[in-house]
Amino acid sequence: MAEEKKLKLSNTVLPSESMKVVAESMGIAQIQEETCQLLTDEVSYRIKEIAQDALKFMHMGKRQKLTTSDIDYALKLKNVEPLYGFHAQEFIPFRFASGGGRELYFYEEKEVDLSDIINTPLPRVPLDVCLKAHWLSIEGCQPAIPENPPPAPKEQQKAEATEPLKSAKPGQEEDGPLKGKGQGAAPADGKGKEKKAPPLLEGAPLRLKPRSIHELSVEQQLYYKEITEACVGSCEAKRAEALQSIATDPGLYQMLPRFSTFISEGVRVNVVQNNLALLIYLMRMVKALMDNPTLYLEKYVHELIPAVMTCIVSRQLCLRPDVDNHWALRDFAARLVAQICKHFSTTTNNIQSRITKTFTKVIKTLILPRLQQEGERIRGVLDGPVLSNIDRIGADHVQSLLLKHCAPVLAKLRLPPDNQDAYRAEFGSLGPLLCSHVVKARAQAALQAQQVNRTTLTITQPRPTLTLSQAPQPGPRTPGLLKVPGSIALPVQTLVSARAAAPPQPSPPPTKFIVMSSSSSASSTQQVLSLSTSAPGSGSTTTSPVTTTVPSVQPIVKLVSTATTAPPSTAPSGPGSVQKYIVVSLPPTGEGKGGPASHPSPAPAPSSAPSPLGGSALCGGKQEAGDSPPPAPGTPKANGSQPPGSGSPQPAP
């Protein structure tokens, strides 16, 4: 038990160079090495002595952080004049510089203009100490009020969500999670440890996942009713209040399942009815739930993601698409998806890569077929007589977005020899540009493949998340989307069924992977392979004994496999794979109805001279996309979301 402490107890000493520097600064030029050595020993010892005394003051001051005043008091104990003026709260005001083979630490002293100080308004006077009473416990129960920490701390919710078998009630197993942080607990460790190990090892297989109780108290039911009514009601002030409550109140943990069902059902119904306002309200609820620092949503993400994604890609979200600003909803929902990816994507659930895959499919099935027409329209604007500069800029922007996001998808779809003519034939005026972009994308993918970067996919793809919301825009607004909401429920069902059927089939999915990946390009092989290796990696360890961890891993494998097997089948045929996945179910309907129907859609005729009406309509749409802040900052946001998402997959394999 003492082993781990061993390293800490080494006797570190200041370097003797420091003594020299100090001596020089005092005007003593030559100082013997021996003297330096003696001095450092002495100084180090005294510093430690003072630090140990200062620690005493910290403890008696009931703090966890040593402050400069503690050191002052420790010096005072030794009858040394304290160092006045060092009251930095957070950091030590040293700056570092090196150069000429020397390393220097110095104080940064800025020149301050006196008049600045005089003229700046005085800072607010800090509030005075005050007493506030609240109930920490009422006859043994801790009320869930903002003054108390949330009943189930986020870590625990997370532990429950990710490792349902290990989590335990806080009272039952103190040593586990809490052990790590208390340094004061170190002495007690000696005995705690021997005890701690066995229950985890032996107890785990026996203990079943605790069934969570979803009974709500009367107050909670009332609260739920009030909040949901306010959220979708007509009074904006009430809604703001309700959302505020959702976003800040601790103790909503128990109501989470209700909320998530409320949202997903609400989306399902309102998408059909094209009730834009309600959809926006529901998305705002999702946002509020995500913002609540005390909630950990992972368990409910499977309900929320389909709902949110529906709000991004659904063909029609409002009754009058020309007038209503459904783009705001799409944009908002896209941000939510980005946020979800950022928060919940892990190596085990692969949310981010699954979502990007889905969106890739959207690009494939919805945008690619339309590239030709769009290309024509863009060319019409760019090459035609200059009607309005805004049109031009808009068209330019649309073009660059299309190129940027379609190229990687095309790179994966098409086999390597990239022929300009073939591209032109297929995609019309955008062909050549696309071709060069695809070549570039391939080169980049190859480069990343060399670096064995498994996150290629997640890095290049999330951008579609945002642009996608615009992609289907010019598309037809056929109200033939009745299936969509229904299909939302599908992944949930597959999830459930997969969970049930999981244990017997851990091996097949990986094989499917490999088959599929061989058909795609080199770069994606790399990615898929890595995915598949990670999946069986966890699968193989769990297959032989029917241990309890299987269910948590298994559905993911299953889902991934359905998702990945889908593309080859959807691309050519379509309707066969309706059941696989939400958005997978979209393309076929899109191809069947939307594709052909898009020609007579309000979009202007592709080749002829651009009619001002169509052009401006297009521009209006584009401009909205280009000017309105959401997409622009949204992209960096999506990018920003990657590091955590992409960082997490790496350690696991």
Partner: protein
């Protein structure tokens, strides 16, 4: 003001006749003949008296040997205000004081100061001779004083660093001598005093040279032997590792084998038990002989023998081994620096040993816990419950009074019965009850009838008082017994008092306004209050350093606060001004507490002693010296006859207020002790330390009876419920935990054998005893309090991460 002063002198007068006189005369405890000539200061300088007034009898009191040391030590601080004429008035004590100071100066190598003092003293001697004090008495006194000095040094109250403000203007000889103190480096005081008689001897013990390169071999040889011995002996003999390691290392350092010492440390420090880590850290930084001079921790190691408890069999085994191997080096250390307490019978198990070790100087010797302790409660004074009680009950439903009646009787009868373990009623003089106290007692009894009966099935509610915006750092909290006031001590030197009831805090009117009041009117007590000053919060300014301790007097008229500046201050809650600054601890005072009966209070600080004071004496009545490190917390026993102190040396000691003896030493904590509390029946003590554990002790038997594990950080506050069924603990880990105290004290292993040997088997039942854990929102729980109706009040400062 006049009214107030009157009231206070009244207190003092009441106390005087039986108060100080009976307590102060020495118990002739340690035979240092000082005679009982303590001139008690009767009269005007009562509770409200300021220092200047009471200083007129400087050095007058002090009876037992220890206070006499205090005189020499404390005089300089107090003497700041002693008028120049005081020495003449002084009795032989002054001379003794002078001699002690001279001796001290000589020892501290403060020659100039000594000369100066001598010059002064010659004058003084004439004066003294003029008063015709027999010379030989002086000599004896000096001898006694010097002997005392050297004896108490182990925990000498660091007299050398005088209070800077105090010394400035004073012309008194002693002070001028000591005024040079600050020039000397830091701790010189206590160290230098020790250096002559004790330390040099101890240090020289390290002198004997062994071959420094052989040390590692010796140690590993012993290690091998112990590890190969039988299981039953191994655990016991393993106790030797740590003290041997430390002493061998110190020997190496002392003999300036720096490199050998370093490698020795590197090689073996990992073998030591993890709870010695803090000491090892100190040790690791100590690599030079010069360092050893000033280091207190090491000083403790050298001056006090490390106590080990080993069975006879194991000891024989060890002895045989060492003799066989001719391992003189180790044998010498065992002989010189260790105290091996040998017992007959079975060797103890690892668990039994682990439970008891961990303190700085090993376990307590068995005989240290043998003396009788009167842990029972004093008989409650009989108070006639007035008839208005009936009226109030009449207001309730008809059924209730009948139910209540028997209850009240039972309470009454309980207090009437004399507890066989209780000390005699007048063992120490206690203040008489005032009318207001009686009223309060009646209130208390009424509340008692409404008290919630707690138990595992009926947990108390916890009301948490959060100090918001306490950027200056909350360092101490106290709540009055009736839960009407909360005081907070802050790192910015302020003490703030809040009223948590609708009744606002008002101070007494100015003297001029007071004179206008009709003193005959019935509501004079109401009239003297100045309505204009009513507010919920009063801030008390006076300290010049963080306030580490705060305590309300039982009658709610006074507040004590102790601070880094070395003083304990007494504040009036009538005028909200400081009444007295008690100077004695020259170093930070970590804790202070009023006696449950008022009048007395105890304080403990960095100077390693706890002091017992009476509010109307500017010098301590008792000095409890013995701890080897800071006294972190101090608590009075409910019967006020004992004081418990918890220290950074990881021991808890119980002191007898009557004679200043240490009657219990409890070892077993593995970190500095930060909280103490007695059970309401006085039988048990609960202590909490930085290691996050709460230990329970049976005072009567002197045994550890329980261990409550669960907290992950320092336990800062402990409190039993009013009936003792529940123990609440609050910690730096931001939790309040409730423990089943009834169950914890059930079927204790207090048979004769256990009591005789002190071997305890602790049940591992912390989890069963834990009734509840309540997290706060990053608010360390600094204080806990049970109201009279058993509602828990907790307090702490919100500290955002």
């Amino acid at each position: 003001m006049a009214a107030l002063a009157e009231e206070q002198t009244e207190v003092a007068v009441k106390l005087e006749p039986e108060g100080p006189p009976t307590l102060l005369p020495p118990q002739a405890g340690e035979g240092a003949g000082e005679g009982g000539g303590g001139t008690t200061n009767n009269g005007p300088n009562g509770g409200g008296g300021n220092v200047a007034a009471s200083a007129s009898s400087a050095g007058g009191d002090g009876g037992t040997p220890k206070p006499s040391v205090a005189v020499s030590a404390v005089a300089p601080a107090g003497a700041a205000t002693v008028p120049a004429a005081a020495p003449e008035a002084g009795a032989p004590h002054d001379r003794q004081t002078l001699l002690a100071v001279l001796q001290f100066l000589r020892q501290s190598n403060l020659r100039e100061a000594e000369e100066a003092l001598r010059r002064e003293a010659r004058l003084l001697e004439e004066a003294v001779a003029g008063t015709g004090v027999p010379g030989e008495a002086d000599g004896a006194g000096a001898e006694a004083a010097s002997a005392l000095l050297s004896r108490v040094t182990a925990s000498a109250p660091g007299p050398a660093a005088p209070d800077p403000p105090g010394t400035g203007a004073s012309g008194a000889a002693a002070v001028s001598g000591l005024a040079t103190g600050p020039a000397a480096p830091g701790k010189v005081g206590s160290v230098a005093v020790e250096d002559q008689p004790d330390v040099s001897a101890v240090l020289s013990a390290y002198n004997q040279q062994g071959d420094p390169t052989m040390y590692e071999e010796y140690y590993s040889g012993l290690k091998h032997f112990i590890e190969c011995s039988l299981d039953c002996h191994r655990a016991e003999l393993s106790q030797l590792f740590y003290p041997l390691f430390v002493h061998m290392y110190l020997e190496l350092v002392y003999n300036q084998h720096e490199n050998e010492a370093k490698s020795f440390f590197e090689k073996f420090h990992g073998d030591q038990e993890c709870y010695y880590q803090d000491d090892l850290r100190v040790l690791s930084s100590l690599t030079k002989k010069e360092h050893m001079k000033g280091n207190e921790t090491m000083l403790d190691f050298r001056t006090s023998k490390f106590v080990l408890r080993i069975s006879r069999d194991s000891y024989q085994l060890l002895k045989r081994h060492l003799q066989e191997k001719q391992n003189n080096q180790i044998w010498n250390i065992v002989q010189e620096h260790l105290y091996i307490d040998i017992f007959d019978g079975m060797p103890r198990s690892k668990q039994q040993i682990d439970a008891m070790v961990g303190s700085l100087a090993g376990e307590a010797k068995r005989e240290a816990n043998k003396s009788k302790v009167f842990f029972g409660l004093l008989k409650e004074p009989e108070i006639e419950v007035p008839l208005d009680d009936e009226d109030e009950e009449g207001e309730n439903e008809e059924g209730k009074p009948k139910k209540k009646k028997p209850k009240k009787d039972s309470i009454g009868s309980k207090s009437k019965k004399q507890d066989p373990n209780a000390p005699p009623q007048n063992r120490i003089p206690l203040p008489e009850l005032k009318d207001s106290d009686k009223l309060d007692k009646i209130m208390n009894m009424k509340e008692t009838t409404k008290r919630v009966r707690l138990g595992p099935d009926c947990l108390p509610s916890i009301c948490f008082y959060t100090f918001l915006n306490a950027y200056q750092g909350l360092t101490a909290v106290d709540v009055t017994d009736d839960s009407s006031l909360i005081a907070g001590g802050f790192a910015d030197s302020t003490v703030r008092v809040w009223s948590v009831t609708p009744k606002k805090l008002r101070s007494v009117k100015q003297a001029a306004d007071l004179s206008l009041i009709d003193k005959e009117s019935d509501d004079v007590l109401e009239r003297i209050m100045d309505e204009k000053t009513a507010s919920e919060l009063k801030i008390l300014y006076g300290h010049s350093g963080p306030v580490y301790g705060a305590s309300f007097s039982p009658d709610r008229n006074y507040l004590l606060s102790s601070s880094e500046d070395g003083t304990v201050r007494l504040w009036s809650l009538q005028t909200f001004t400081c009444l007295v600054g008690y100077k004695g601890h020259n170093y930070p005072v970590w804790d202070t507490q009023f006696s449950p009966y008022g009048y007395y209070f105890v304080s403990g600080g960095h100077d390693r002693v706890a002091r017992l004071w009476a509010t109307d004496h500017y010098q301590p009545l008792r000095i409890f010296a013995g701890h080897l490190a800071d006294v972190n917390c101090t608590r009075f026993h409910p019967n006020s006859n004992y004081v418990a102190t918890g220290s950074a040396d990881r021991t808890v000691r119980l002191w007898d207020v009557l004679n200043g003896n240490c009657v219990r030493i409890f070892t077993g904590h593995k970190g500095p002790i930060h909280s103490l509390t007695f059970s309401p029946n006085g039988r048990f003590l609960a202590t909490g330390a930085t290691d996050g554990r709460v230990l329970l002790w049976d005072i009567g038997h002197g045994l550890m009876v329980g261990e409550l594990k669960g907290h992950t950080d320092t336990v800062c506050s402990l409190r039993f419920s009013r009936d003792g069924e529940i123990l609440a603990s609050g910690s730096m880990d931001n939790t309040v935990r409730l423990w089943d105290a009834v169950k914890a004290f059930e079927d204790l292993e207090t048979d004769d054998f256990t009591a005789a040997t002190g071997h305890i088997n602790l049940p591992e039942n912390s989890q069963e005893l834990l009734l509840g854990t309540y997290m706060t929102k990053s608010t360390p729980v600094v204080h806990l309090h049970f109201t009279r109706r058993n509602l828990v009040l907790a307090a702490g400062a919100y500290s955002p991460q």
